[in-house]
């Protein structure tokens, strides 16, 4: 799939330093009520497999993709992603290969791309160098779950200068005061964590989640994405009208593990109903 003219303009505009993730999401939201965000662990099972996964995702109309840079201590991830991180590293995947892959992906596909990973990847490279590489590779933001916002002031400032969005997580255990603080620094979108725990387990979609999304809304006007345990059509049906983005992580990798491209295509068809 080739990129549309407006998307190319947006890519060009990125260099000017404006935050475009939110604008991009709003534009997509004008066309459909619930966007899809997905996740790929770079180099697992291989970069070629990643590419085929992404082709299926693009076919399914996915709007935003997290490319996870593998880390040796993925303490916020569940078992399937832990294994993916580990095997990717064992196969020799390096950070710079992930950036090269991201550049190819963002050039080729219509969806936007985020870096997902752990703070040591950013820290070891240097915050400015990391952001420059991210911008150069066409990424529009990043999710770094082990970097609390009180430690992220400098990174956020450098990101603003480059028009890159730091995606902030809001969680059900946060106090209202904390949610307010998170809302103030968030750019692009909010990642609302549907429940306690790590990625991959099932989430009960119900009144508690609805109330939590409502709490998030009190502290942000950004599009809200809901992740952790979103895995089937019923979840998407539940989220429609309550959130702007459904975030599918483990469920897609699980489908790929079970039956490769065919199973993944079937998984996304199932989501569409």
């Amino acid at each position: 799939m080739e990129r549309t003219e407006s998307e190319k303009q947006m890519a060009a505009g990125r260099a000017s330093g404006a935050d475009h993730l939110e604008a991009y999401l709003r534009q997509r939201l004008a066309q459909k009520p619930l966007l899809l965000m997905t996740h790929v662990v770079c180099g697992y099972p291989s970069f070629d497999d990643n590419w085929r996964e992404l082709e299926v995702m693009a076919e399914a109309g996915v709007d935003l993709v997290e490319l996870q840079f593998p880390f040796s201590e993925p303490s916020a991830d569940g078992p399937l992603f832990v294994k993916a991180n580990q095997l990717s590293l064992e196969r020799g995947v390096r950070r710079d290969q992930c950036f090269e892959f991201m550049a190819r992906v963002s050039e080729h596909f219509p969806f936007k791309v985020l870096m997902m990973g752990y703070y040591n990847t950013v820290f070891k490279m240097g915050e400015a160098a990391f952001l420059d590489a991210l911008a150069k590779a066409g990424g529009c933001g990043y999710i770094v779950p082990d970097l609390p916002v009180q430690e992220a002031g400098h990174l956020h400032q450098l990101s603003a200068e480059r028009g890159l969005s730091p995606i902030v997580l809001m969680t059900p255990t946060n106090s209202d005061a904390r949610l307010e603080m998170l809302g103030q620094v968030a750019r692009g979108m909010i990642y609302a964590v549907a429940r306690k725990g790590v990625t991959g387990d099932k989430t009960e979609m119900g009144a508690d989640l609805e109330a939590f999304i409502a709490r998030c809304r009190q502290h942000t006007s950004l599009p809200v994405g809901v992740g952790f345990g979103v895995s089937e059509k019923a979840d998407l049906d539940f989220l429609q009208g309550k959130a702007e983005i459904a975030i599918i992580g483990t469920a897609a990798l699980k489908a790929w593990e079970e039956g490769g491209e065919t199973a993944l295509r079937k998984f996304f068809q199932g989501l569409a109903g």
């Binding site: 040796s72 916020a76 950070r95 082990d146 997580l169 255990t173």
Partner: protein
């Protein structure tokens, strides 16, 4: 010198090191813990309760012993040893876990989790949980479970559940990751009893606070036994909790403090766990804190190695890193070979069996003592006992009678 007098906005930082880098979902839990610990720390009755518990349950104060034979044999400084091996469960780990047990009680939590490498901390935590009536789950790398069965045996018999962690290198660091995963799920009723002075704030401070009991006792005892302060204090450094424990007793004195890391197969071998003594580590952020890690240029962690499982770890106590940069603590490393020799020498001359971890401190003291004068005094922290690690020690010194015993025992059990 107050190590914990943080500047505004720098709580939990020691120079550039430390901090609290945790997933957002744990923010409330860690703030609760910070507040509870602060309350405990400022309450003199809490420290009294801790000291009384350690007296009645673990036989504190542990003595300081003069090693006359070893001192004479080396012909230099007089060598004394602080006997943390005599505490309940056989190491200094009991100080930290009983303290955190009291904190957990105050938090009103009913379940504890802990990581363990060699098994000492898991063993101590299982003991504490039994005593306090907490539910207990211990995460231990599958490699460590395989090589430390005796400690697993005790943990299970004390009522704890032991989970063999199959991710990553399947050692201590992977057990820490698994604890963090449990904690982000069960924080409402669960306290994470971190075993060393690493990880996110307030753990380095809290663990140091409880381990300070070693240094408080040791300073008084060495003055009584040797008639003066020591010239040098040696302690092994894995995570660095026994070291910061004894060093705190001498922070304001003119005493040289020496941390001894696991030199493994030596510098340049890639098979060691020396973060500061060798040049292979660099600053990073992982497992909740900023410190020196053995990592590659991408920030992914390297394999580590030590003859002593308890020292076999990628990161190091951020308080010690800061003291090292201020040149208040000197860092050295002892190789596996030096440790084997030091253990045999200590056993034969003094009848003491230090844990392989603690033997690193002995090995460095044995190198330095002959170059010091007879008026000078060395204090070594014997952080644990080695006799309970009979399988590991027998392997380390390659004892053929022991190997035969195991073969016979295996034959006796036969096939299931």
């Amino acid at each position: 010198m107050d190590l914990f007098d943080f500047a505004d906005g720098r709580e939990g930082y020691y120079g550039d090191y430390g901090g609290a880098f945790l997933p957002e979902i744990l923010t409330t839990t860690i703030e609760e813990l910070q507040a509870c610990f602060r309350e405990c720390k400022s309450d003199p009755a809490f420290w009294q309760e801790f000291v009384e518990l350690m007296r009645s349950y673990s036989g504190r104060p542990t003595p300081v012993t003069y090693l006359e034979n070893l001192s004479n044999k080396l012909g230099g400084a007089r060598i004394y040893v602080k006997r943390e091996d005599l505490g309940h469960t056989g190491s200094h780990k009991i100080n930290n876990v009983m303290g955190q047990g009291l904190v957990c009680k105050r938090l009103g939590k009913k379940r504890v989790i802990a990581e363990t490498g060699a098994g000492q901390h898991g063993f101590a935590t299982a003991t504490m949980a039994a005593r306090f009536g907490f539910e207990c789950k211990i995460y231990m790398g599958a490699v460590d479970v395989a090589r430390q069965r005796p400690n697993v045996f005790w943990m299970e018999n004390l009522g704890a559940t032991v989970v063999a962690v199959e991710d990553g290198q399947r050692t201590l660091k992977d057990a820490i990751n698994e604890c963090l995963r449990d904690w982000v799920t069960n924080m409402a009723d669960t306290h994470y009893v971190l075993g060393t002075a690493c990880g996110p704030h307030p753990f380095p401070e809290m663990v140091s606070f409880f381990q300070a009991i070693i240094g408080r006792e040791a300073r008084e005892q060495i003055v009584a036994e040797a008639g003066r302060l020591p010239d040098r204090v040696f302690a092994c450094v894995g995570g660095g909790s026994n070291a910061i424990g004894i060093f705190q007793g001498f922070m304001d004195d003119n005493v040289e403090l020496v941390g001894v890391e696991a030199g493994g197969h030596g510098p340049g071998s890639g098979l060691h766990a020396a973060r500061l003594a060798y040049d292979d580590a660099s600053v990073g952020v992982a497992q909740g804190y900023k410190t020196y890690f053995l990592q590659n240029d991408d920030g992914n962690m390297l394999e580590t190695h030590s003859i002593a499982a308890g020292l076999d770890y990628i990161g190091i106590n951020p308080i010690l890193v800061n003291l090292w940069q201020q040149e208040r603590v000197r860092f050295e490393a002892a190789t596996d070979d030096a440790v084997r020799e030091a253990l045999q020498l200590t056993m034969r001359t003094e009848g003491l069996i230090p844990a392989l971890e603690s033997t690193h401190a002995f090995a460095q003291a044995i190198v330095e003592a002959p170059k010091m004068s007879k008026d000078e005094v060395i204090l070594i922290n014997q952080s644990g006992r080695g006799d309970k690690d009979i399988f590991t020690v027998a392997d380390a010194i390659d004892d053929r009678h022991w190997r035969q015993f195991i073969r016979d025992k295996a034959a006796e059990y036969g096939e299931d």
